[in-house]
Each structure stands twice: as C-alpha cells, then as structure tokens.
Symmetry: C2
Subunit: 200 residues, 2 copies
C-alpha cells in the first residue's frame, strides 16, 4: 500500500500536467488521455485519482489555488514578524501580477480556465467563488488599516477592495503580453494603494 | 463588376463569421474553410477578399476595432453638442465594459484574440498597438480637463489614464462571468473617475 505522501506526489504530478497543457494551448479539447500522456502515467491512474475529466479540471484548479495561497503566504511571511495591513494588501495584489515565471505560468492557466468558464462550462461554478473571497480579504485588511489609523475613516473598504483588485487584474494582460514591464505595473498598484493607505 | 458597397458588405459578412467563431469557441484551429462555412460563402471568396488565414484574422480584428470606435463615437455624440472631457472619458471607459449584448460579444472576441496573442501568434503585433492609443486618448482628455479646471493640476494624466483603463479592463471578466452586475461595474468606474475629474 503506497503511503499518503506518495498519493499526494502522484496527484500533484497529474495536476501539473493539466497546468502545463492549460498554459501552453488551453483546455479546449483536453482529454484524460492527453493529461495521462503529458504526466507520463497511465490513463487508469488518472481516472483512479481524479475520476472524470470535469473532476480532474476542478481538482487541478483547486490545487493551483491552494499553491498560490501558500506561495503568497510565504512571500508575506518573509516581509517580517508584523508586516501590517498595508504590506499584506500589497502582497495579495502583487500575487495577482505575472511578476515572475511562476506567477506568469499560473496566470496563463487561469486564462485557460476563464475561457472555459466564459463558454459556459460547469466547472465555472467553483471558480466563480474565488474573487469574492479575495475581495473580502482585502476589505478586511483595509478595515484593519482603519483601526490602526492608516486608512482614513471615510474610505469605503468594500469598494476600494474591488477597485484595487480590478487594477491588479486589469494590468495582468498587458504584462503578460509584454506591453508593460512588471515594475511599472507594481508602481501603478502602489499608486492606487497609496490612495487607501494614506498613513503607514 | 460589383460596386464598392458590395465588396464592403461581402468583407463584413466574412468578418462577422470570424467574430462569431471567436466568441463561441475561440480561434484555436479555425481555418479559412471554417470561416467560409460559417459565412455561407465559398472558400475562394474568403481567399479573394482576405488572402491567408493570418491576414483574415488581422483584418477581422481591425474591422472590429473600427466598429467599436464608431459605436463609441456615436454613443458619445449622443451625449450632446459639447459633452466635455469628463463625459467623453466616461464614454470611452464604458465602451470597454460588456454592458450590452453587442459589447459583450465584442469582448468575447477580444478574449479569443488575447489568448492567441498570449500563445505567441504573430498577429499579436498589430493588436499590441491598441492599448497605448487608448491610453493616449484618455490622457489627452484628462489634460483637457486640467485646462478647463475640472482636474486638479497635481494629477498625472498618463498615470491616471492607465489606472482608469486598468479598472475598466479588470472589471470586464467578472461582468462577463456574471459575478458582478453591469451597474455595479459602472459605479466603480465612476468612483475612480471622480478621483480625477473632481470638478465638473
């Protein structure tokens, strides 16, 4: 009987194959067979771990999100013992920009899922829940900023959270296409952030 | 010999077929033959009017952009004889949001082109020039606002133009997916716009 760690490694190997396929050519027409070939495992193993194609795509997205969250948390932890809500908000927003190869690939995968969701795929339902969670997190951080006197009381946390995330989201495309440098995207996010966190 | 108007109608009929294919299932694997079938014309006619597949995709994008510009201009003209830079900027930004079926379809087509550009398609070069043109237009409108005393002099027109467009761009996805209402997207754009056009 394989150990739990082996199961996890196997699931990850298969999910990474889905991500590579999504990033390079999208998810249109991707079958369990394609994924098995890309992962270098048998079709039966993919079915054993993930079931149907839809289940596999959903699970691979959930694993990517979990990865993104963990990497974001690591980067924020690296800021020091008490980074404060401004730095944490900045960390959350920068996690959304394709600033390095890892985040760039992640965004290409998200684009592939976004396209499938646009075309009415059922798996959209799960992914649809992602943005509100982020909006709630950023709004919470802005409220913490208000409690610490770093954000003016007249600021609307929910509205500014959506605008900050929209700015980061709206800059993704041009950075991915090489129309804008990652540095200039960060400067723009900082400018918008400076409107909310005016002290601190 | 067909009249010029007939040629234009024929070209348009074929371009519209490209847009429909792009909006419904993307541009991956689309051939001249698919486009001819969708347009209800012969393959030779498509080749006669557009040449290669790449030429066709480029021309169909250029025609969509020209259409978008014309519709935007019409909507802005409908605002009255001298709408002023604030209203015109707002018009430009709202043109980017999928507020009705026409703009929604247009955005689905843009997503299809964006995906092809991400995957390194040559036709990206032409489309890459689109955002700077819009940024320049919005920056110009903000400068006009400054001349009329509607925008504070300390505002940086180029920076705010990019942020306004990023906000509109970043809201597109959630409106397309039905996660956000068109009305709330407009309210968010107006909030950001109110930071620039503080008087007028």
């Amino acid at each position: 009987v394989p150990r739990q760690a082996d199961h996890e490694a196997r699931r990850r190997q298969i999910a990474e194959a889905v991500w590579r396929l999504a990033a390079s050519s999208g998810l249109e027409g991707v079958t369990l067979r394609h994924v098995a070939a890309e992962a270098g495992v048998s079709l039966r193993l993919v079915q054993y771990y993930f079931g149907t194609r839809d289940d596999l795509l959903l699970a691979a997205l959930a694993m990517l999100n979990a990865d993104a969250e963990e990497r974001g948390r690591e980067r924020i932890t690296a800021l020091g013992p008490d980074p404060g809500p401004h730095a944490v908000t900045r960390g959350v927003l920068l996690e959304m920009l394709p600033l390095d190869e890892e985040r760039r690939t992640r965004h290409l995968v998200y684009v592939a899922y976004f396209v499938r969701m646009l075309r009415g795929e059922r798996l959209g339902e799960a992914a649809k829940n992602a943005p509100p969670a982020l909006e709630n997190l950023v709004a919470l951080l802005i409220r913490q900023g208000q409690e610490r006197g770093e954000v003016p009381p007249e600021i609307d946390p929910d509205l500014e959270a959506v605008l900050l995330l929209a700015v980061a989201d709206g800059l993704q495309g041009s950075v991915l296409l090489g129309q804008r440098t990652p540095e200039s995207a960060v400067a723009l996010v900082d400018h918008q952030l400076g409107r909310v966190f005016t002290r601190g």
